[in-house]
């Protein structure tokens, strides 16, 4: 059984959750993006950033949840150096407290089957600071540094029911959730640390183990596979899986024990007296509902219906990244060929940006709408073959080159009859046997075509080559 706890930063906000420090803390000098409030200095008080409520409502609606009538913040106490007040302002499901939303679900598709994954609740809470290990890991570092730039960033903690049964499902779930958040505009999941997954895993006959620190969609599957294998091996050898918290060590691809939990921790929850309860009006919820954008499932359906895409192409385009799906629509609106463009984006573009290790924004900048449309036009006019089309995309993405320069380089179909005739002459001289075969069996002509293409390094227009060879064969036959 797998249950997930996903911490999502509300990256759409301009400021932190309870103070006016910028929410964009990335890449700043340590401890420069702070103020008395997010440092928890004596006397400071939190003031709620109301925009965060709107964002939380968006997510709750998209995940089909019941939204609480009241917004109540609760203090969750534990001593840890990255937590400036030694309590986190969070939410809690208990007497006098409530999470912002409860009881929703997400549909995922695994191996062609639809599955409903239930969401237990969403909390709005503040992010702690970050402990920085100067020598890569805790074990190797004789000291640590604490950076509070992240302290107080708005988080949504999304908790699922233990409905997931395999690492693959867990990965699909996180992918779907990330796509929904991106379409809502609440979170940019590609930002480092913007989406962090903790997982609770148990196998039959064992205790529940919590895995923390899983950073990416891909790692969810890896970490869970490792952990399940580890737990099964213990059970099989007659051992006992102990209740503990483990950390995912990405570089080694293993989970490492962090602390053994013998008892349920006592967080001493109580309603935060610094933050008055706020009523969540039906009017606000309706207003947010009206502004909800198109969500991934609706978009996939529309792509299949309006652009004639296969379900596979449509769902990869949408789920890979909203940016890619937006870009796809942009390009198709200008130069048509939706199916061709979808397959180029998925099979070529994604492959090469991955190879070059550039992000999707940079990839789209290089393969701009104008450049791609220009290449598509070359193709539709017969100036380049499918093979060359792929070559163009590859070189544009890898070299950030203008396709017009590739044309100047001569990377187009050779349509000079005179030149092709010369090559055909050459081939006929070199492969007399093949010529005789072709005279007897029309299918054998392909070998000759292939040789011409080889000599022109794929640039000859295959149609033209075919025609010239046929003409030549006729004249050979006539002698």
């Amino acid at each position: 059984m797998i249950g997930l706890e996903i911490h999502v930063q509300i990256t759409s906000l301009k400021t932190k959750l309870f103070c006016s420090c910028p929410a964009d803390y990335r890449g700043k000098e340590p401890n420069t993006n702070v103020c008395p409030v997010c440092l928890g200095l004596p006397g400071s008080l939190p003031v709620f950033n109301m925009r965060a409520l709107r964002e939380a409502i968006k997510v709750a609606l998209a995940l089909n949840m019941n939204i609480s009538d009241y917004l109540v913040f609760t203090r969750k106490h534990y001593f840890y150096p990255d937590l400036p007040k030694n309590y986190q302002i969070s939410q809690y499901d208990g007497i006098g407290s409530t999470p912002i939303a409860r009881g929703g679900y997400i549909m995922i598709k695994v191996n062609g089957n639809l599955k409903k994954v239930r969401i237990r609740r969403i909390n709005i809470e503040e992010d702690p600071g970050r402990i920085v290990y100067p020598f890569a890991s805790a074990a190797k570092s004789p000291y640590v540094m604490i950076d509070y730039n992240r302290s107080g960033i708005a988080l949504l903690e999304i908790v699922t029911e233990p409905d997931l049964t395999s690492p693959r499902e867990a990965r699909e779930f996180v992918r779907k959730l990330a796509s929904i958040l991106e379409h809502l505009g609440v979170c940019n999941p590609r930002l480092e640390g913007a989406l962090r997954v903790d997982a609770n895993v148990s196998v039959r006959g064992g205790e529940r183990v919590e895995i923390k620190n899983i950073g990416s969609v891909r790692d969810v599957e890896k970490a869970l596979s490792y952990e399940i294998t580890r737990q099964l091996a213990i059970v099989k050898s007659g051992g006992k899986v102990v209740r503990e918290t483990r950390h995912w060590d990405k570089s080694r691809g293993v989970t490492v024990s962090a602390r053994v939990k013998e008892l349920e921790e006592d967080y001493r929850y109580f309603p935060d007296p610094d933050l008055p309860v706020i009523r969540v009006s039906k009017g606000l919820i309706d207003e947010v509902r009206k502004e909800l954008p198109e969500l991934p499932d609706e978009r996939i359906t529309r792509f299949i219906r309006d652009y004639g895409l296969s379900e596979y192409l449509a769902s990869v385009l949408v789920m890979e990244s909203k940016l890619l799906a937006d870009y796809f629509e942009d390009v198709v609106n200008v130069c048509r060929y939706p199916r061709l463009i979808a397959s180029i984006l998925i099979n070529e573009f994604l492959r090469w940006i991955d190879e070059a290790k550039i992000d999707i924004n940079e990839g789209i900048r290089r393969l701009s709408k104008d450049r791609l449309c220009y290449v598509i036009n070359l193709y539709s006019e017969g100036k380049i073959s499918t093979k060359l089309l792929k070559e163009y995309v590859k070189r544009i993405v890898l070299e950030d080159i203008d396709p017009k320069d590739l044309v100047k380089e001569g990377l187009t179909v050779l349509s000079s009859e005179e030149f092709i005739e010369r090559i055909v002459d050459e081939v006929f001289r070199e492969y007399r046997k093949a010529v005789e075969d072709a005279l007897k069996n029309p299918k054998a002509i392909n070998f000759l075509v292939g040789q011409v293409m080889r000599k022109t390094r794929g640039r000859a227009d295959p149609k033209l080559v075919n025609e010239i060879i046929r003409r030549r064969l006729i004249s050979v036959e006539r002698g």
């Binding site: 006397g43 400071s44 007296p273």
Partner: protein, 489 residues
């Protein structure tokens, strides 16, 4: 010699700005003389710095740009943060803490051209009622230096009472402004919860803490409140409803008088109230009746539970608010080498906090623990709601609830502090206002064997206009304040 008040000094300085320098010289001369005995201050600003500030104010007075409090030489309780000026909370934990920002109330005082003289002594983290729980030294009562001045804002009350400042700010969680006001013959106001911003007040119990002025007269109190009250975007609990100019109300009260319906809750003047205090209280009531007030007596059984409810809530919140003192970012610091986080935290907190603070953190941690939360914190919160409802109901029928401010005369040093329960018991009259969020003021009403006695008046939420008006009238009837012990003059 006439006792100067904030109002009289401000007025005098308006026509003769240069006098400000003389007042400062006089106050520093007195501080040098009385501080070795009284110890009202923890930090006193160097005179030269204060004189430099005065120069700017004098210039402004001359050019007619001075703020409402030009000439106000004020003392600030040492749990209210002051930018660049050490703020210790009378704790070893914050012995060397220099805040990088000003509390909202400090900003407002300064922008109205008040000048800060220093930071006053208190019970550590405002936990206590005698100012003996300071990590540094106790403050003594100027009316009898063998006695405590009350607390926790004892330093603020003594600074005003002994003429070491013209006015001061204290904080009141369960009576910490009113108790020392009563014991030093000063006026102390705890405003409605949410009238004055708590931003920059180092939290003890967030749902009850309020900053309030301690002054030598009701009009002085109104002058300070006028500046510090009002909505603040930095404190979500501060809604700051203001309906009047407090000073105008006070003047009206003095000139025209008020006829108000007063009510006494029997449970507040029975158990634990010394007979001399009760007798004095009844004398005061008779004087008020003679001046047109009506007085009724009612019984409210729930009041008996106010003290335990108050201490459970206060300690629970304190255990949470004081969790942040771990020695990593500010305050008492220890070498962390070779120690785990938890060892560092334990060491710092063991050394940094005093006994009473530790006691309240431990009890507070207990009442918030899973399994005990319902029986203690939650039940106390319910009692609190009932008390609030009962008092609000009473205040629909009567204008003000009155009582003695303190059930006893100022105790001798060491007399109460030995037994925590005896110490907590003297808050019995004052905690009610904090539990219910209501405004309450202590006005000097009597002297018994040359020891001050205070009269507490509690009003409805955000009724400070009316409360101050009535208090000013009562003050004019009782004719005790303004006053000061003759030896300090």
């Amino acid at each position: 010699m006439e006792v100067p008040t904030l109002a009289s000094v401000i007025e005098e300085i308006r026509s003769r700005p240069k006098l400000l320098t003389e007042y400062i010289e006089e106050i520093y001369e007195r501080i040098n003389r009385v501080e070795p005995i009284l110890r009202a201050y923890i930090t006193i600003r160097p005179k030269e710095e204060v004189l430099r500030d005065a120069k700017v104010v004098i210039e402004k007075l001359r050019s007619g740009e001075a703020g409402k409090l030009a000439g106000a030489l004020v003392a600030i309780k040492d749990n209210i943060v002051t930018k660049g000026l050490r703020t210790t909370c009378a704790s070893r934990m914050l012995k060397d803490f220099i805040p990088p920002y000003n509390a909202t109330v400090v900003e407002r005082l300064l922008s109205n051209d008040a000048i800060i003289i220093g930071k006053t002594n208190m019970d550590e983290f405002a936990m206590g009622s005698t100012t003996e729980n300071s990590a540094f030294y106790p403050t003594r009562n100027p009316w009898d230096t063998n006695r405590v001045p009350g607390g926790s804002s004892g330093g603020s009350a003594v600074a005003v009472s002994a003429l070491e400042a013209l006015a001061s700010l204290g904080s009141d969680t369960g009576g910490s402004v009113r108790a020392p006001a009563a014991f030093t013959a000063t006026v102390g106001l705890k405003p409605t919860y949410g009238l004055v911003s708590r931003y920059g007040l180092i939290a003890y119990a967030s749902s009850m803490d309020q900053i309030g002025p301690i002054c030598r007269s009701v009009v002085d109190t109104a002058l300070i409140l006028d500046v510090i009250a009002g909505k603040d975007g930095k404190d979500a609990t501060c809604i700051g409803v203001r309906k009047c100019n407090y000073v105008d109300e006070v003047r009206e009260g003095i000139n025209d008088g008020v006829k108000a319906k007063l009510v006494v809750i029997e449970e507040m003047v029975s158990e634990g109230v010394e007979p001399v205090i009760k007798a004095s209280f009844e004398r005061t009531l008779r004087k008020l009746e003679a001046n047109g007030f009506s007085v009724s007596w009612v019984s409210e059984q729930i009041i008996k539970y106010s003290l335990p409810a108050y201490y459970i809530i206060a300690m629970g919140e304190a255990s949470s608010n004081l969790a942040r003192y771990d020695g990593l970012r500010y305050g008492l610091h220890h070498s962390v080498e070779g120690l785990s986080w938890y060892e560092v935290f334990s060491k710092v907190r063991s050394e940094g906090f005093g006994r009473e603070v530790k006691r309240r953190i431990l009890v507070g941690t207990y009442v918030l623990s899973a399994g005990y939360y319902d029986a203690y914190y939650l039940r106390a919160s319910k009692v609190r709601r009932v008390i609030r409802d009962r008092l609000k109901d009473l205040l629909r029928r009567y204008d003000f609830i009155v009582s003695p401010t303190m059930p006893v005369l100022p105790p001798k040093l060491g007399e109460r502090i030995v037994d925590p329960l005896k110490l907590y018991a003297i808050d019995v009259e004052t905690v009610v206002a904090n539990l219910a969020g209501l405004p309450a003021i202590s006005v000097p009403s009597d002297f018994i064997s040359n020891l001050p006695v205070g009269f507490q008046i509690m009003g409805d939420e955000f009724s400070e206009c009316y409360l101050l008006k009535v208090s000013a009238f009562i003050e004019s009837i009782l004719k005790v304040s303004p006053t000061a012990p003759s030896w300090v003059m």
